[in-house]
């Protein structure tokens, strides 16, 4: 019970930090309004999906290094398929790309289960493979996205009964993110499968002896990670209008947000809400640095340093808590 409060407390603290950052942002830039919030939500979108992809796997006791490469591959696939195609064709592209992410993610899981090589090596090898595949699909940034898809992340969602000023604070990108994550995550969390994912992350042997199909659960966890990564790739294509074969800094960002979001890197602990709030925190820090008129390259350094510091802190906490957890 106390653990429950501690975990929720972490998320609550994180949320308070987010509010605090918003206040700071408002102080730095008194004009910061709903429009800026909308662009923040758009910028968060690919990161949030990358983090969701990483979170599922980390809870299952693994790690997925191929997240960024998977996003690059799905992004260029979507962009090159939609290039010059009709608007309706995109209705076929979206499910196709999502299925591709699901299958490639499952392939990650199958390779881990079958070869018995640790996750970190398999997904590292898959990082090379997916990067190569992305380069084969599209040698240089290019392609296109359907107009209705691009429109789906710009602007706000009109909610009947809400005044316009409040409506302006509900950007479409945020709604899209929440809907996509909830559709997958809430049924999962309440199902036997979700419990199994937590179980194999917490103690694989105990889970196996309690009758959890460990291999199948692991494959499904990686497949879900692939699905989220594909959503991330799609959102990249949608928000930029093109696909880029070189993966962005999503791998490190996803690991940092997972750690900051209170998900233990050993597995079995934490939820999706914490990491998603953590992504907003990390992005908002970047916004603040930009508002302070700091050179964008310097911003990249500071951002990288923050992420490394977060990961170091997380590893330190894990190291400190391990002996204590062993002797309850």
């Amino acid at each position: 019970m106390s653990r429950f409060f501690r975990n929720q407390g972490w998320v609550a603290g994180l949320f308070a930090l987010l509010i605090f950052l918003f206040v700071i942002t408002k102080l730095i830039q008194p004009g910061y309004g709903s429009g800026d919030f909308g662009s923040l939500a758009r910028a968060v979108l690919p990161y949030a999906f990358a983090v969701a992809a990483q979170t599922v796997v980390v809870i299952a006791g693994g790690i997925d290094l191929s997240v960024a490469a998977m996003m690059a591959l799905t992004s260029v696939t979507a962009a090159s398929m939609m290039n010059g195609a009709s608007e309706e064709y995109a209705l076929f592209v979206v499910p196709f790309v999502l299925a591709m992410g699901l299958v490639l993610g499952a392939l990650n899981g199958i390779l881990i289960v079958v070869t018995r090589v640790p996750d970190i090596v398999v997904t590292l090898a898959m990082l090379f493979v997916l990067q190569g595949a992305a380069l084969l699909v599209l040698g240089a940034p290019g392609g296109a996205a359907a107009e209705w898809l691009k429109a789906s992340v710009i602007g706000t969602v009109p909610i009947p009964g809400l005044p316009d000023w409040a409506d302006a604070w509900v950007p479409k990108a945020l709604v899209l993110l929440v809907v996509c994550l909830c559709i997958v995550w809430i049924p999962l969390r309440r199902s036997r499968l979700g419990l199994s994912i937590y179980a194999i992350g917490s103690n694989e042997l105990a889970a196996f002896r309690s009758g959890v199909p460990v291999a199948r659960t692991r494959i499904i966890a990686y497949a879900l990670s692939g699905l989220f990564a594909a959503l991330g790739g799609l959102s990249l294509t949608i928000s930029t209008g093109i696909g880029a074969p070189i993966p962005g800094p999503y791998l490190l960002a996803s690991v940092a947000a997972v750690v900051l979001g209170g998900v233990a890197l050993g597995g079995g602990k934490g939820g999706l809400l914490g990491p998603i709030i953590a992504v907003f925190v990390l992005r908002l820090v970047r916004t603040d640095l930009t508002l302070l008129a700091i050179d964008p390259n310097v911003t990249a350094i500071i951002e990288g340093a923050i992420m490394v510091a977060v990961v170091m802190f997380g590893a330190f906490i894990t190291m400190r808590s391990r002996p204590a957890g062993a002797t309850p």
Partner: protein, 328 residues
């Protein structure tokens, strides 16, 4: 009893082959290298001549030194993905600082970021126990950020490649590339260090069984910090050599070498889980990859296809070595 003990038990051919591969990993590697060269000669009769040999050596040497970084870090169960960034940084700084500075000063300035990144990597991995992959990825992101900021400050002064590095990187004396003057001492030093010195044994000990090593009084963090600084220094020196070979300073100079350097060490029989392997295998691994690259270029395989192939090679070889070790 003695009868049974002395009687030679029938051993299947496959098993014997496996044992042979495990005991002498160099022989199958050399056979593979020869097969690749023969295929090359069949595809392009007459390509294998003195000039080709010198050229292959020239391109294999930077790869082999970077793969040496991977070999040493992998022996402890780690990996160093920041070598590409470190090599690029030192090369770029050398090329830009030599314009206004004394060569010695330029050299020291070029080595400074290498030492710093190595130190941060070492502290992160050794003290905070961050996974080496995440840690080195993070520092390489930060390093790239610094490099971009630095680039803007020297954009006016221009860059030039020092004559000495030109001579070392591209020059050939009596059919032997001058780069061997650097490589042979470095290789001898690494092999000697790994096999004959206490530090080398500590690396194997830490990688084989970290807990046992700690309990026998090994200062884990000191070994790891020294290791990552050494690895970074080697990467920095490789950068200087590589700029003499490529002759075009850019911000992504040595990045393409990172994946092959991991692949070369894995092919050479160094276990990515630590405790097993050596530098001789890695050198042959680097030669195999260089010849393979030539072969793939002749077959007109695009860069993407090459990456896919390298990824599968890493996965396949790791799985194969895992099987061999499990069998024994």
């Amino acid at each position: 009893m003695t009868d049974i003990a002395t009687m030679p038990r029938p051993v299947s051919f496959g098993r014997r082959l496996k044992r042979f591969m495990a005991d002498r990993p160099l022989i199958p590697l050399i056979i593979l290298l020869i097969i690749l060269v023969v295929i090359l000669q069949i595809l392009r009769p007459g390509i294998v001549n003195e000039r080709w040999l010198a050229n292959t050596a020239k391109f294999a040497i930077p790869l082999a030194i970077l793969a040496g970084c991977q070999t040493m870090t992998m022996l402890t169960g780690g990996i160093d993905l920041s070598v590409g960034t470190v090599a690029t940084m030192s090369a770029f700084i050398m090329a830009t600082q030599i314009v206004n500075q004394d060569p010695t000063v330029a050299f020291l300035l070029a080595m400074l970021p290498a030492v710093l990144i190595g130190l941060v990597n070492g502290i992160g991995v050794g003290v905070f126990r961050v996974h080496p992959l995440i840690m080195t990825l993070g520092t390489s992101l930060i390093g790239t950020g610094f490099l971009q900021v630095y680039q803007r400050t020297v954009i006016a002064s221009g860059a030039k490649i020092p004559d000495f590095l030109n001579w070392l990187g591209t020059g050939v004396t009596y059919g032997f590339p001058n780069a061997l003057l650097l490589f042979v001492p470095v290789a001898v030093l690494i092999v000697f260090m790994l096999n004959r010195t206490g530090f080398g044994r500590l690396l194997y000990a830490v990688g084989d069984n970290e807990r046992a090593a700690r309990l026998s009084g090994v200062r884990y963090w000191q070994v790891i910090t020294a290791l990552y600084i050494l690895s970074s220094l080697l990467a920095g020196i490789t950068g200087l050599l590589y700029i003499g070979l490529i002759k075009a300073p850019s911000l992504s100079l040595a990045e393409p070498l990172v994946l092959p350097s991991v692949a070369a060490a894995v092919i050479g029989g160094t276990s990515i889980f630590g405790g097993r392997g050596g530098y001789m295998g890695t050198i042959i691994g680097a030669l195999i990859l260089t010849v393979l690259t030539t072969l793939l270029t002749i077959l007109q395989m695009p860069e993407g296809g090459r990456r896919i192939l390298f990824g599968f090679i890493v996965l396949f070889v790791t799985a194969a070595y895992l099987r061999i070790v499990e069998d024994r």
